[in-house]
Assembly symmetry: C2
Homo-oligomer: 910 residues x 2
């Protein structure tokens, strides 16, 4: 019962507020910031917030509200009425309200909103009298009816109409019918009388379709709207968005009820959205869009192309459009002042919404603005330089995903010069993308599943398109601005996106679009330059990398000063090694010796390997190994040379041998001939290698135990390569790594071989010693459990979390397709454990392995070389678990450097 | 240096000894018992023991002895000389010595022995003078030369001659040449002069073959012999025996040097071995064999068929042979007295060796006698009844393997009546065996590896045959007695064995044997009745089980009184359930629902299952499941009925679906037709089910999550079957078990289904509730690690240690053939972890799972249902880990009952 006494309704407005910006978990981002703004003296329409606790209780209690909520709302409403000097439901001086969602983390467009609450047959005349604008009032009533019938009476009631049969579509149909009848093109051309007539038609239609009258009681409207917003937390779109963004279901949303202010009451009214800095570039200029005589939704929906906020950010596309700075200079100055106030207060870029009613500015919302990667890096650097924030805050200001964006492909500028431009649009998401054109979200998903790269082309996107946008390489819309749905979503994901390419004619039904005299059909390739906003015909070559971005380099240097975890790269070739070094790798954490049997120039060594595999005596194997040896040594020597002075971990042969045996009849026959055996004998030997579960079969150290001569050859190649570097006075630190270990005795066996070969190679090269280490992968659960024993021999551990995840879960990575999507969908697992390290299960084995290993050998060097080594949350886990380094593919090295720095900041020791 | 001060040489004899029976680890079994016997006043030839610590140091220090050993030996030798009133190397009154191995655990025939040490050109005349038996002395010298040249000069020196070219064979060749030249059949027919001449020939041959003279210095002979015995610890045979018996390499052997006494100095001399009770039946009668005028090796080697010890144990085969009781009544009485003394002292059946020299009895050895299973059970029961031992000792007296022997197959007596008897032999190993005849150890191993059941037929066996004996179903020899090598080894393993079938003519080279007018060729089937000693032509049917053995039942009742761990059985059918109950199972720990799709009468349900699997919509699956449901319900109902009143754990579908799809083209075509789809469509659907690593694929609960309707059908079948029992007033306790769990959310999902179906079934059968439990397999490492979470939902855990072992080691059970033998051979792993639970690794996860599960749910019921549940050391581990029950196949239930009782005794709380 103690819970009941907690405040459920938080008021704000009139320079006061119950809440503040710290209370995001309880009030949601929007509510907390409205409270904060009210306290700061920013002009905010008064209102109140129903907390996320109310949401939780609502869901936990079968849609029933906590007792006392009704009274609290009514009481707080009175305070709002007092500030606004108006009364909700009053026939003469009616207050109108809005009801909006507000979660802890912004979910743009994913939940519901109802505006103009409180318009009824009784209050309409009063508002007409007060505003003197009959058309505005009937239009507001039309909007209320459209929204309310859709959101409250249909969706929230759980009615699922057939595609295109929803009340929203039916009312829009009536609107279009009316426009056609009146011979007008736009809504704004309908008169007050038209709209009044439409209200009657709407009411009839609503009753007919939904079997219920449109409510004429203001309180019924208010509670219906509150209800619908709470319920929209579990709407299909919101749930799908949460899955993608990893937002927990149990957070819930708050509901903000606020006095309505109108940007569409006449020409002295306006509405707009703005960012305190440019969210696409990070440039420190006040950036935004506005529309005169409009409601907020008109700007965000992307239906009307909005005007630029000021002159300094005006783009070529906005030529001829009026800026707010010019149109309403006084209001603009006030707004610019608020911009400075808010950024100083919040010490971060803000995303704000405002409305101007009769020349008076109202701030509807401020929140930390979403930005893309390049913008995040630039802002962090500039705010650090201007001392608005310190280094540790700067490091936290760029998410690993944002940093990753900077590594996104860009269109090759040379190729771009000669390419055929179809059209230009707004550069909403940077980087380049190329792919085949599709016109629906469903097709984008389907084609992508089949492995095609697609560009999703739409007139405009809406929240139903989220899955398709996710699946696409890039997004192109013909309508909307930089704050349209498509732009916001794409920026959040760092996805290449061009919006508002108004010259394009998109024919979704006909599955084609045209522009610049070119017609592009479904499946045709196009290329987007999301940084410039250019759309090209055909597939252009891409460049990957940020070698030339000084901000990127500067930002990562800040990270390097903070982080303690070393970052290595996984590299099999000198090229990989060079790329890794360029991205800041401090060594190689995984060199797969088997790489040389794949890809280019592998023919000769592969033949020797196959010969070795298909030999049936140790003598024959040794002969084949002797021929293979020079290739292996040369290969390793190249990489050691590229990484001179840095540690290089070289893993002995890992895959089961049958992976190298050709399947094809022709190739087998050729091989048999070269080996001097019959095809039948070769087939028999190859078949004998077949395994039921190869992942858990005869591989890794198990090969080294049964065929010690194979390990021996590799060890000799490594130590001889190192010896040759030493003779050339090049420093080298090879680390010999034994894979697939499950018992210390396996390592003992292999370490003995290393000892023996080391002595032999030293003698051959006349050296006293060749500095090297011998260690092991920890990738089998038993190895983690018995790490104390293993550390008696191992000089280093490298966690192979790919295989460790496979065995800890009993998931074959090759076979999870049959159930993993269901597991994520049904919430059985929070994420794909092969992408994000499972800290609760696999993480226990990692921690156990480190603790036990260090209990025997306190200075044991420990790292990770699985794919997780480049995934930010996993890197942080590795830092916290006490690893010395992570190792990942070259392109993930920057993210690992950032995540390692953030881990230090997050532990609070920086 | 403190170590050096430890005694290295322990003397015994003359009624005194440094050591005692407790010191087996240091003195070996033989040495400890010689010391104990000496202290008991039993007449033991004096001598001394070099400790196992000396052996350890010998191996740890490159074959160098600890300093001071030489002096200690010389000093102690003086004491022996004093007791014997003879001097080692003395020309007039020479003392001869023996050097024998003695490990902590007996390894019969696996290490080396040298006798008659001290015979040289200087001492031979003295001994001839003293014994007055020139022939005996030259024969002793011949034996010394044969043994010493073989054991010390060849084997111990690491010389590996070609097959049949060893010095032993070459000297035997000379002996045979001499016999031929003299026209005699037997060694004993050679005269003193012949043997004297032979000594010259031997010396020449030895120098010629081994490039060294036979040593003529007694101390050189002594140290050579000590050396050879220590070295034989790492001989090929000994190592191979240790692998089979699980004896650690680091134990080492002691060496016993003892004054020689001679059973072959004349007709007043004899030698023999005896058991204080019959080791093959357990009967409380003094049982043994002896030979007049012979050395001990003559009895054990099985070359001469020995005489019975006494009249009461005389068998039909021994008709006409003299018993010691009759031949030397005084000595026999003394021996019988010592028998009583030793059994009272050691409180266990003793295996003794004795020699009679000139009518004087010397006890050479006493040790706990090996016995077969039936004998072990009978002795334990009878010693308990006579209060020689208490119940907890009785329970420890039968090893799980011995108990298992009682469950060995026996020949069907009806079939036996009509079978063709080839011959009769000595019943050395009980039970029946049938198989194809092979004539060499190598063939036995090869044929068995290919899956054949073989009977190894030999004239006599020797330690080189151990591997083949292991591989064979049964062993048959034409020579040797109940204490011959074949008999001892077979009894130790509980293997069916017949020895001394003297009427058989075994032609090893010709690969055939004949007897009773029948010739049996390699590959022909024969049948042995090892309990009776009968050899039959052809393959006779076997009966398994000990239903009729009251000692077995009585013994297990004693176990049941002591044990706390419950024992259940794994059973898929009413027949299995009945068998389990008969063996004492207290419930079913694992009923595999998929069993009904294998084996007899599975055609109809299998068709429905395949239909379900190859359906492509939920609706089609549900239709097939509806048709499958009655089969599943009927099946479960039968087993629940058979186990009325006892808990039955029913596991939901476990294998991946593709296991049920037929491979054959014809069968697929048939199935496609029945399903109304084309073969192409069927093939496509079947191919889509293929998995790279099926063990870690779409199986178990993963099927239940993706196809909840499959789980639902099974749950409904279980609860409906239970409901029908309840309606018939039959008590039933179904436990629904979810397999392959890796996360609590999977269990939540399935438990919800159970809840829903339970409500529906209750309604259908008009019951208030159907008592049941919902639990899970813990067989995935992650489930063990997150057991605390899982126990929030699970009402019981059942450890599936087969899969848990697979994933903890990363060993695919189907694929370990490629490396596991090497792993065992090279000592990387101590045992096959699928047979013996790996307590150090897998055991950690089991303990973790139990502890964490109980931390959430203190009364959580915990069991095991893997193959380990019937393996004794694993059962003991389960007891110690705090499990409530183990479950195993019906035939392993008795072993589990015994092991569970032994676990209680071993923890000392009984």
């Amino acid at each position: 019962m103690a819970k009941r006494q907690k405040r459920m309704v938080y008021s704000f407005g009139g320079g006061k507020a119950h809440g503040n910006a710290e209370m995001k978990n309880l009030l949601g981002g929007k509510g907390a910031n409205l409270a904060e703004m009210a306290k700061l003296g920013v002009p905010v329409p008064p209102g109140f917030t129903l907390t996320t606790d109310v949401c939780t209780e609502f869901y936990g209690n079968n849609g029933k509200y906590p007792s006392g909520l009704k009274q609290d709302v009514e009481k707080t409403l009175k305070a709002v009425e007092k500030i606004m000097k108006m009364k909700f439901g009053d026939p003469d001086n009616p207050l109108l309200l809005s009801s909006r969602s507000g979660a802890r983390q912004s979910m743009p467009g994913m939940m519901e909103t109802v505006l103009n609450i409180g318009l009824t047959s009784k209050t309409i005349p009063g508002l007409i009298g007060k505003s003197g604008n009959e058309r505005f009032v009937w239009d507001a009533y039309r909007r209320l009816m459209q929204m309310y019938s859709d959101v409250v009476m249909e969706k929230s009631a759980g009615i699922e109409p057939a595609e295109g049969k929803g009340i929203r579509h039916q009312l829009e149909g009536e609107l279009n019918k009316m426009k056609k009848a009146r011979g007008v093109e736009s809504d704004v051309d309908l008169t007050a009388d038209d709209l009044k007539e439409l209200a009657v038609i709407y009411k009839k239609k609503i009753r007919q379709v939904l079997k219920k009258p449109f409510p004429d009681d203001p309180m019924e409207q208010l509670w219906g709207s509150i209800d619908a917003v709470f319920k929209s937390w579990n709407g299909k779109r919101a749930v799908s968005y949460r899955r993608i963004e990893g937002i927990p279901d149990e957070w819930g949303t708050a509901v903000n009820v606020q006095a309505m202010v109108f940007g569409n009451m006449g020409d002295n009214c306006a509405t707009g959205v703005a960012f305190t800095r440019n969210p696409a570039t990070g440039e420190n200029k006040f950036y935004g869009e506005w529309l005169p005589n409009a409601q907020g939704e008109d700007v965000v929906a992307g239906i009307r192309t909005p005007n630029p906020l000021n002159e300094v950010t005006r783009t070529a596309d906005a030529r001829g459009l009026p800026s707010l700075e010019k149109a309403m200079p006084g209001v603009y100055r006030q707004l610019a002042g608020i911009r400075t106030l808010l950024e100083k207060h919040y010490k971060d870029m803000q995303d704000i919404e405002f409305t101007i009613q009769d020349g008076r500015l109202w701030m509807l919302q401020t929140r930390t603005g979403k930005r893309n990667g390049p913008a995040a890096v630039r802002m962090a650097l500039e705010m650090l330089r201007s001392k608005l924030i310190n280094a540790k805050t700067a490091v936290m200001r760029v998410s690993p995903d944002q940093l990753d964006e900077l590594l996104h492909p860009t269109v090759n500028p040379q190729a771009e010069k000669k390419a055929t431009l179809i059209a230009k649009g707004l550069p909403a998401g940077p980087g380049g993308a190329t792919g085949q054109v599709v016109f629906t979200s469903e097709d984008a998903v389907k084609w992508a599943e089949k492995g095609s790269k697609v560009i999703l082309v739409r007139d405009e996107t809406n929240p139903e398109d989220v899955e398709g946008m996710r699946a696409a390489e890039g997004i192109l819309t013909s309508r909307g601005g930089m704050t349209s749905h498509a732009a916001l979503v794409a920026r959040g994901w760092g996805k290449c996106c061009i919006v508002g390419a108004g010259t394009l004619d998109v024919d979704t039904k006909g599955r084609k679009f045209s522009g610049g005299g070119i017609t592009v059909k479904e499946g045709d390739p196009i290329t987007l330059n999301g940084t410039k906003g250019n759309i090209y015909s055909g597939e252009l070559p891409m460049i990957v990398g940020t070698e030339e971005n000084p901000a990127f380099t500067a930002f990562l240097k800040i990270c390097d000063k903070i982080r303690r975890l070393k970052v290595r790269t996984n590299a099999d070739t000198p090229e990989d090694a060079a790329k890794g070094l360029q991205f800041g790798a401090e060594g190689i954490g995984l060199l797969r010796t088997e790489h040389m049997f794949y890809g280019e120039n592998c023919e000769k060594p592969l033949f020797q390997l196959r010969k070795m595999i298909l030999s049936d005596t140790e003598a024959a194997r040794r002969a084949a190994l002797k021929d293979l040896y020079p290739y292996v040594k040369a290969d390793i020597k190249k990489v050691l040379t590229a990484m001179a002075g840095k540690p290089v971990t070289i893993r002995l042969l890992d895959p089961p041998l049958h992976e190298f045996v050709p399947d094809g009849k022709g190739e087998r026959a050729k091989l048999a001939k070269s080996l001097g055996i019959t095809a039948k004998v070769l087939n028999a030997r190859a078949d004998a290698l077949h395994e039921v579960n190869p992942m858990m079969g005869h591989r890794g150290v198990r090969l080294g135990i049964t065929y010690p001569e194979v390990s021996e050859m590799q060890i000799r190649a490594i130590l001889s390569a190192a010896a040759e570097l030493i003779q050339n006075k090049i420093k080298t630190l090879p680390e010999i790594m034994i894979p697939v270990l499950c018992d210390v005795n396996e390592l003992k066996h292999q370490a003995e071989l290393v000892k023996k070969v080391h002595a032999e190679v030293c003698k051959e090269y006349n050296l006293r010693k060749i500095t090297h280490m011998v260690g092991t992968m920890i990738e089998i659960p038993r190895a983690a459990l018995l790490a104390d024993k293993i550390a008696e021999i191992a000089e280093f551990f490298s966690f192979g979390t790919n295989d460790l995840t496979q065995m800890t879960y009993g998931f074959s990575r090759d076979d999870i397709g049959g159930f993993a999507p269901d597991y994520i969908e049904k919430g059985i697992l929070p994420a794909d454990p092969f992408q994000v390290l499972d800290q609760s299960g696999v993480g226990q084995l990692v921690q156990c392995g480190i603790e036990r290993g260090r209990s025997t050998s306190p200075k044991l060097k420990v790292g990770i070389c699985g794919e997780h080594g480049g995934e930010a949350s996993s890197v942080k886990f590795c830092h916290n678990a006490g690893m010395d380094y992570v190792s990942c593919s070259p392109y993930r090295v920057p993210v690992a450097r950032l995540a390692a720095a953030q881990a230090v900041v997050e532990e609070g020791t920086c």
